[in-house]
């Protein structure tokens, strides 16, 4: 348990990306949230650990309280991974108009563009973390054959809804922003909408499938979400 300033603490289980460890972190976060401890305002599962953010009015030692809480939860047993998260279906149009880096990915992976799309859409994925921007998911479970590094030079503006891959993950851009991931498609749905009852489409632990759609369906969903 390391301090994260004087109002938060962070327990990091792994310094490298490990899907098993990430799942434990998510189950631990769920167990802590279920205890509804007064004074804890945010429980944030990250790629390799969990951060607990406390209310400034909290009277007590933040790090000790966090450590004791984590120990209690681990001892009592964590909820099953299958019981966490929802199943999220993300419609994606992989047409050339949206798949800005698909040709480059195909070349780097020595696959045809159709193969890249097919492999991507066939994957079983899990949201490892949501961060960088509201609603921005880091999704694990990418086919090994599709592993490509981030682009040498980031794009000044990646269009909102872009679905992009790098290293072993997929991300979805909630709004237009600069980015260095390889864009292979676009979803018409908003990853984050502050007016929705559940504003973020993705939450840590959600299981994700990508459903290929046509340009026409993309347009329909864009106009009638």
């Amino acid at each position: 348990m390391v301090p994260l300033g004087d109002l938060a603490a962070y327990v990091e289980f792994s310094r490298t990306l490990d899907l098993e460890v990430n799942s434990v972190a998510q189950r631990l976060a769920a167990a802590i949230v279920a205890r509804a401890v007064p004074g804890i305002r945010d429980v944030v599962p990250a790629l390799g650990g969990v951060a607990l953010h406390f209310d400034p009015g909290f009277v007590g030692d933040v790090r000790e309280t966090a450590a004791a809480l984590v120990e209690t939860c681990m001892k009592k047993g964590l909820p099953d991974a299958d019981d966490l998260g929802r199943r999220i279906e993300v419609p994606v149009c992989y047409d050339a108009e949206f798949a800005l880096d698909l040709a480059e990915v195909a070349e780097k992976t020595k696959l045809s563009a159709e193969d890249v799309v097919r492999r991507h859409a066939a994957g079983q994925y899990r949201v490892l973390m949501v961060g960088f921007a509201p609603g921005h998911p880091y999704i694990g479970g990418l086919d090994q054959k599709l592993a490509v590094p981030r682009r040498a030079a980031p794009r000044a503006l990646v269009p909102a809804g872009s679905v992009a891959i790098a290293n072993q993950q997929t991300v979805v851009y909630p709004y237009a922003i600069s980015g260095g991931w390889n864009v292979i498609g676009r979803t018409p749905l908003a990853a984050f909408d502050s007016t929705r009852l559940v504003p973020s489409m993705f939450a840590p632990g959600d299981r994700v499938v990508f459903r290929p759609i046509s340009r026409r369906v993309f347009q329909e969903l864009l106009e009638h979400p």
Binding site: G5, T16, M129, G131, A133
Partner: protein, 284 residues
Amino acid sequence: MSIRILRPGLLTTVQDFGRHGHQHVGLCPGGAMDVVSLTLANALVGNPPGAAALEITVIGPELRFEHDTLVALCGAEFKGGFPHNRPMLVRAGETLPVGRATRGARAYLAVASGLAIEPVLGSCSTYLPGRFGGFEGRALRHGDVLAPNEDVSRERFAALKRKNGASVRWSAPPLTLPDREPIVVHAIEGQHHGLFDSAAQRAFYDTVWRVSPESNRMGFRLGGPPLSREAGEEILSGPTCLGSVQVPPSGVPIALMADHQTTGGYPRIAEIAAADVPRVAQLA
């Protein structure tokens, strides 16, 4: 009861204490950069500490009040002639320019009963990167109209003691403005402190850092010697907090401020103590 924006100033936004409980989906709390001055301004007009107010930055707005309105301005000092750190009853029809900051960078203009703003995700704060919250998710512009929640200004002003015309004879002290610079800020060793070589670690604590003009509500860039890290693997993206000091490969430290990203892949050498963030917020 309206308050009309004649000139918006450099960056004037509606802020309160922010929206909590959403960091796990990437939304930071946001809210006032200097929560102490916001609290004080609200106290001076009889509001709960986190009532929605205007955060004013460096060049203040010019406002016309169509009704008698009890207001208070706390934080940075501005030269428009607006009394600071005390309640003041602005009369119906009066126009007040806040002016340019002469000391500090941000001030809060609170109105009695708080600004009437529809909350988004539990807060009236403006989240500029996401364009939601506050007044239409953006900085105020010429022609915008705001209003307080209730018409309590005259009654609250009447209850004040030791009045002096439209204001009072007393004032609150400016709690977050520096008496002199450099200001001393407390820091807690960060998770990745050990990844920096000993010269960099020493430099972090010995340097008088200058907050660069390329700073904003998301983060303050600190000018000084580059902090070098022992070459190693990229660190795994992890959580951040208000006041986290990240050091990207360039070696230029960035102190995360109110609208910070909730996770980051840059090493964190230290975190600024929460109680000192309001004072840092007055530097740029």
